[in-house]
C-alpha cells in the first residue's frame, strides 16, 4: 500500500542530503502507519540512471517514480507528484528542507486542495496518521498539527531529518509519463548552480567567525578575517551579506547555504533569523556580538555580548593574539 511520497532532488548525479533524510524519514513513518514509502525523481539529463534511482532503496524507498521533465524548477515536479499521488493513492507527501521542497509542497497544496505544514522539525505517527510538529513565532512556541483530510503535505525544516548510513536493497524503478501543465513550461532555467565569489572552505574549520549585516559594509569583514586569523579559524557569512555581495557564496551558512557545527561559532552582527539558525545551531559554543539587545541570536547563544562591533572586534583580535602568544 502506498503511504508516503517524497521528492528526491539530485544534482550532477548525486542526491541531496536533505532529500535522503526525507526518504529515510518517510520509510520509518510508513512502517509506523502501515504502507510503503516511495520517491519521485525528475530530470532531463542522463544522470538519472537506473542504478542511481535504485540506490534510494538503501534509504528505505520501495519504489522510485522517474519522470523526464526540466530539473531545478518546482512546477514540473508538482505535475509529476500530483499524478503519482492520485494514481497510486499516497496519503502524505514529505519534503526535506530545501527551497524546491517549499515550492513543490505549496504547489501540491493548491493542486490537491491539501493541508500543508512547513518548517516541520519532527513528524509523529499517531493512530495510523501523521502529525507534524513545527516551531512557530521565531521558535517561541511549538505546535502539533494534524491533517483533517488526505493527502497531507509536510515540508521539513533544513536538517530536520537525519541522513542515515545507507543500508541494503534496491528500489523498484517505475518510469512515469506526465503531460506537464502549460504554465509549468513557461519558466526556463538559464543557468543553474552558479558559484559567486572565491571558493572558501568553512566546513572543515573548528572555529568560525561569522559576519552579518551588522558589520555595516563589505569592509567590515576585514575585522572578521583578522579575528579568524588570530583564532586560527575561518570566516563565514549570512545570506543577507552574500546576496549583497560582501562575501563569497561558498561561505554562506543557513537555509540555502552550508550547515556547520564547529567548536566555536562567533557571530558578529548577526540577528539570528531562523534561516540562519538552522545552519549553525549544533555548534558546540556560540558567541554572539550584536548591538541590539533584542536580537534573537541571544536566545540561543552561550555567550552574548551587547555592544559595538567596531569597538569590540579589533580589541578582541589583539587580546586573542596576546593570549595565544603568551600560551
Amino acid at each position: 500500500m502506498s503511504a508516503i511520497l517524497t521528492y528526491a532532488l539530485h544534482y550532477e548525479g548525486e542526491f541531496n542530503k536533505n532529500s535522503l533524510g526525507a526518504v529515510s524519514e518517510a520509510a520509518k513513518l510508513a512502517g509506523e502507519i502501515g504502507g510503503e514509502a516511495a520517491a519521485v525523481v525528475v530530470g532531463d539529463g542522463d544522470d538519472l540512471t537506473d542504478d542511481l534511482c535504485k540506490s534510494l532503496g538503501k534509504y528505505g524507498a520501495a519504489k522510485v517514480f522517474r519522470a523526464e521533465a526540466p530539473e531545478g524548477l518546482a512546477q514540473p515536479v508538482v505535475d509529476v507528484m500530483a499524478k503519482v499521488i492520485q494514481d497510486e493513492g499516497f496519503r502524505y507527501a514529505l519534503f526535506g528542507g530545501g527551497l524546491l521542497g517549499f515550492e513543490i509542497g505549496a504547489g501540491l497544496t493548491a493542486r490537491l486542495n491539501a493541508g500543508v505544514t512547513m518548517e516541520v522539525t519532527e513528524v509523529k505517527a499517531q493512530d495510523g496518521k501523521l502529525v507534524a510538529v513545527r516551531p512557530v513565532l521565531q521558535d517561541s512556541a511549538i505546535v502539533d498539527v494534524e491533517y483533517v483530510s488526505e493527502p497531507g503535505i509536510i515540508i521539513g525544516r533544513l536538517n530536520a531529518f537525519d541522513t542515515p548510513e545507507p543500508g541494503e536493497g534496491d528500489a523498484e524503478v517505475v518510469d512515469v509519463d506526465v503531460q506537464l501543465e502549460e504554465h509549468s513550461t513557461r519558466a526556463k532555467m538559464v543557468q543553474r548552480g552558479e558559484q559567486r565569489g572565491a571558493d572558501v572552505n568553512i566546513e572543515d574549520a573548528d572555529l568560525l567567525v561569522a559576519g552579518g549585516r551588522g558589520l555595516g559594509s563589505a569592509e567590515g569583514f576585514e575585522q572578521c578575517e583578522q579575528l579568524a586569523e588570530a583564532l586560527g579559524g575561518a570566516v563565514a557569512a549570512t545570506r543577507a551579506v552574500v546576496d549583497a555581495g560582501w562575501y563569497p557564496y561558498a561561505a554562506q551558512i543557513g537555509q540555502t547555504g552550508k550547515t556547520v557545527a564547529p567548536k566555536l561559532y562567533l557571530a558578529a552582527g548577526i540577528s539570528g533569523a531562523i534561516q540562519h539558525k538552522v545552519g549553525m545551531q549544533s555548534s558546540e559554543n556560540i558567541v554572539a556580538i550584536n548591538k541590539d539587545p533584542n536580537a534573537p541570536i541571544f536566545e540561543f547563544s552561550d555567550l552574548g555580548v551587547v555592544g559595538d562591533l567596531n569597538k569590540i572586534l579589533p580589541k578582541l583580535t589583539e587580546a586573542v593574539k596576546a593570549r595565544k602568544g603568551a600560551g
Partner: protein, 264 residues
C-alpha cells in the same frame, strides 16, 4: 501590464507575538505594520515601472485580512501603488495556508494581473509558500525567493539562490514572483504620498464578490488543525555581557573562550 502586489498586515516587530491559547491562532491584538518583506515587493514593482522595459499601466496593492488591514494598504499606496483592493470577510477568519492561497488567488483573478509580486515570507508565520500556492491556482509560472528581476519584453529574467548556488530563470508573463529582502532598498514615502494615500481608490470586497466558495475557506475549509501548543525545550540561557568598558568586555570574552579551551 498590470502588477498586483500582495501585502499583509503583521504584528509590529517590536510586539511580542503569542498564540491565543483558546483559538490557537496568532494573537493579532497590538501594534501592526505592513510586513517588511512586502515593502520590497512594492519597490520591485516600482523599479519595473521606472525601468521602462515593460510598460506598467497600474500597480495594485491587494490584501486579505480583517477590517484594520486597510492601514497596510494605505502604507502600500504611499510607497507607490496606484490603488488597492481589500478582501475582508468574517468567513475567511482562521484560514490556513491552503485556504488563504485559494482566497488570494480568487481576489487576484478578479483583477487579471500580468504579474503578481509578494514578499517571500511574513513576519508572523508562513514562510515561502503562499506565492507558489497562488500561482498553481492561477496557473501561472512562479518563482520564490528572487533577489534580482530584469524585465525583457514579456519575460522576466530572475535570479535567486537555490540548493547549489545562484540560479537564473527566465519566466514568461503572466507570473507570480516572490522576492527576498536583498532585491532592493525600499524608498521612504514622501509626506505628500502618505497624506495622499487615503484618497486613492480602495475597493473592499467580500468573499462572495470574488466567487470564493464558502466551504473552502475559514476554519471549516482549512485542511489542517492545531492539536496542541507547547513551549519549546528550554535551552539554558546564555551569559550576557553589556559592553560598557570594552577592555573589560574583551577580557571576559577571552577568559570565557580560554575556559572552554578554544584558544589552545
Amino acid at each position: 501590464v498590470k502588477i498586483c502586489v500582495l501585502v499583509k498586515e503583521v504584528p509590529d516587530a517590536a510586539v511580542e507575538k503569542r498564540l491565543d491559547p483558546g483559538t490557537k491562532r496568532l494573537d493579532r491584538s497590538g501594534e501592526k505594520n505592513l510586513n517588511p518583506f512586502d515593502t520590497h515587493a512594492i519597490e520591485a514593482a516600482m523599479q519595473i515601472r521606472e525601468g521602462g522595459a515593460i510598460d506598467v499601466d497600474e500597480i495594485v496593492a491587494v490584501t486579505m485580512g480583517p477590517e484594520s488591514a486597510f492601514r497596510a494598504l494605505h502604507k502600500a499606496v504611499s510607497l507607490g501603488a496606484d490603488r488597492s483592493v481589500h478582501l475582508t470577510d468574517e468567513a475567511l477568519a482562521g484560514s490556513d495556508v491552503a485556504a488563504t492561497g485559494y482566497a488570494l488567488a480568487k481576489v487576484l483573478g478578479s483583477e487579471s494581473p500580468d504579474l503578481v509580486l509578494l514578499g517571500q515570507q511574513s513576519d508572523d508565520g508562513e514562510c515561502y509558500t503562499i506565492g507558489a500556492v497562488v500561482a498553481d491556482h492561477l496557473k501561472m509560472p512562479s518563482l520564490t525567493q528572487v533577489i534580482k528581476i530584469e524585465a525583457e519584453g514579456d519575460k522576466l529574467r530572475c535570479e535567486r539562490q537555490a540548493e547549489y548556488g545562484y540560479d537564473t530563470v527566465e519566466v514568461e508573463l503572466p507570473a507570480v514572483i516572490s522576492v527576498g529582502d536583498a532585491i532592493n532598498e525600499p524608498r521612504y514615502p514622501s509626506l505628500k504620498a502618505i497624506m495622499g494615500a487615503k484618497k486613492k481608490q480602495l475597493d473592499t470586497k467580500s468573499a462572495s464578490d470574488v466567487g470564493i466558495e464558502a466551504d473552502r475557506v475559514g476554519e471549516e475549509g482549512s485542511r489542517t488543525a492545531v492539536l496542541a501548543v507547547n513551549d519549546p525545550p528550554q535551552k539554558q540561557a546564555g551569559e550576557i555581557i553589556e559592553d560598557e568598558d570594552t577592555g573589560e568586555t574583551v577580557e571576559k570574552i577571552v577568559a570565557w573562550l580560554d575556559e572552554r579551551k578554544l584558544l589552545a
